[in-house]
Symmetry: C2
Subunit: 336 residues, 2 copies
């Protein structure tokens, strides 16, 4: 675990100069909001250190190594996927009305809706620019990969919003939504370095498949942490996803496969009033009893195993494979 | 004028199948919101005909002809610029709180903020996808051109939002904002067909310069129509931009060059209360008296003349040049 945290920290450091150079292309106001959102500065512009895990850039750099290239080959991809990820966070926080992320106020909450919308738009556009600036066919292929993943990510978000007003969401629909919302960008992150390195399609496909699998594992664990995560570690309030009556994967599993407990949960989700503390705790226990938590964690492990198989069948240097697998392991065992 | 309207209508027809095919890649919900936003359907999904002028696609098709290629060569560019334009409208309407566009409710007003954000995001991402799908180097060069223009467009929007809370905006700053908000995409529209056709840089630059000029002319006329336009034609309420105390170009000209009348206007803009009908009418008259309206229209003609010069100095077939100039003429004399 320490090794993974080191490797994530190294990845964050490695992409810093390129990320900073990319953001320097933005107008000063948007740039400084980006720095705040990324956790590089506080609200007054003073240096801070409150960034995310940066799993996606780490995958992008390892993806280049998986194709036998130096990690630097994946750098523009690492920057681009991190930009797309943060574009989606900026817009999501606004749409979900979330006022905190990583223990700090979200951009829309302190700078207004327009700032969150425009900074997100700017990051999305910048991601393409970074890839199209790469010389050679790898950059164009990477831009294509990323724009398709972005389309999938947005489709996932659209479904997520739709599900809020539906009470008949199937588990397959919910998994499809997660594949779009989370799987697509993790898949692109895992393949983009190899694409930039001009790797054979077989290798790219194996890495993309691995990324899609661990993307789903990531979302399953995220959903478990969104209910049972330790608030001081996750930076979210306790039971936050339940309080918002989110139709997350463990919830949808319980509704669709939980028998009588599922029907109770379904009724509870349909209630109009804001749920009280005890009500939320009771429901969390019911989901646990009905096996929703266990199913989500088991499923995350199954996905991780499927991803591992794809990597093992591909022609990937041992060190890169081991690091990718450690990262996958980290994703399913993390606590925040 | 009738010829221009015909040519705009032809352009709209010409891009329809490609535009529809592009939107077919979106999820059904986002696709149907796009169709509504574009004026192709009403809120129930029934066919409608309430689209915009589609100046940008017309420019993109003519731009290919200006490079000696058939207009179809510009088709992916025409679709892409129209998608980027509509991405920005969807987000702007939400940020500005505008509830009507072209006599119909805006997307956020009927479908909610999340729909406007996500449909805009989807259109922006799709624009890149359309260009990256083009075979050959023209598509990549066009994608680069468009992504830079998109960055500029967003920068212009950021300034526009900033200016709302500033009372010391200079005329140069305001012109710079308009060059970003409107000039950049009209510039890209005027050059993208030539880029797709693989035209020499000289021709591309001339067309891009022409587009930037008529883009500014477009915004100047837009600002005049936003104050003095005929509501039944523009689809906006009378004096709408003044009512919102927008620091548009004629307003900024008057504040900075209008002497005593400018100082009065400046004070009026700083008042906290919503202005009444008479107050707004009086201010519109003052801007007129101070020469703000005349300056804006004169400046629009000057920009158009500058753009014409760039076209005349470039090596462009006569028919394409004439059509581009008619379109420029239309832009400064239009009433909506």
């Amino acid at each position: 675990m320490t090794a993974v945290l080191d490797s994530l920290a190294q990845g964050r450091q490695a992409i810093m100069p390129a990320m900073r150079a990319a953001l320097d292309r933005l107008d000063p106001a948007t740039r400084s909001i980006s720095h705040y959102h990324l956790g590089w500065t506080d609200l007054d512009g003073n240096p801070a250190s409150a960034g995310g895990k940066a799993v996606r850039p780490a995958l992008a750099l390892l993806s280049a190594e998986a194709a036998g290239a130096p990690p630097e080959t994946g750098l523009p991809g690492a920057v681009a996927v991190e930009l797309v990820h943060n574009f989606s966070l900026l817009h999501d926080d606004l749409m979900d009305g979330d006022t905190e992320r990583r223990h700090r106020p979200t951009v829309w909450a302190v700078k207004g809706a327009a700032s969150a919308i425009l900074t997100g738009d700017a990051m999305l556009s910048l991601a393409q620019e970074v890839l199209l600036d790469v010389d050679g066919p790898g950059g164009v292929a990477a831009a294509r990969l990323l724009t398709e993943a972005t389309g999938e990510l947005i489709r996932g978000q659209v479904l997520d919003v739709q599900f809020e007003s539906r009470d008949d969401v199937s588990l397959d629909e919910c998994l499809d939504m997660a594949a779009g919302k989370t799987g697509a960008l993790l898949s692109a992150s895992s393949a983009i370095g190899a694409v930039l390195a001009g790797a054979p399609q077989r290798t790219v496909d194996a890495l993309a498949g691995f990324g899609a699998d661990i993307g789903l594992a990531f979302q399953l664990v995220d959903d478990v942490l969104g209910i049972w995560g330790e608030p001081s570690v996750t930076g979210k309030s306790v039971y936050s996803d339940l309080r918002a009556r989110k139709k997350s994967l463990p919830v949808t599993y319980t509704v669709t496969h939980g028998g009588a407990l599922g029907r109770e949960l379904s009724e509870w989700l349909a209630r109009p009033e804001t749920p009280g503390e005890e009500s939320v705790r009771g429901v969390a226990e019911k989901i646990d009893q009905a096996g929703g938590r266990k199913w989500a964690l088991d499923e995350a492990y199954r996905r991780m195993a499927a991803g591992r198989l794809k990597l093992e069948e591909a022609d990937i240097p041992g060190r890169a494979r081991e690091e990718l697998l450690s990262l996958a392991q980290f994703i399913v065992t993390r606590e925040a």
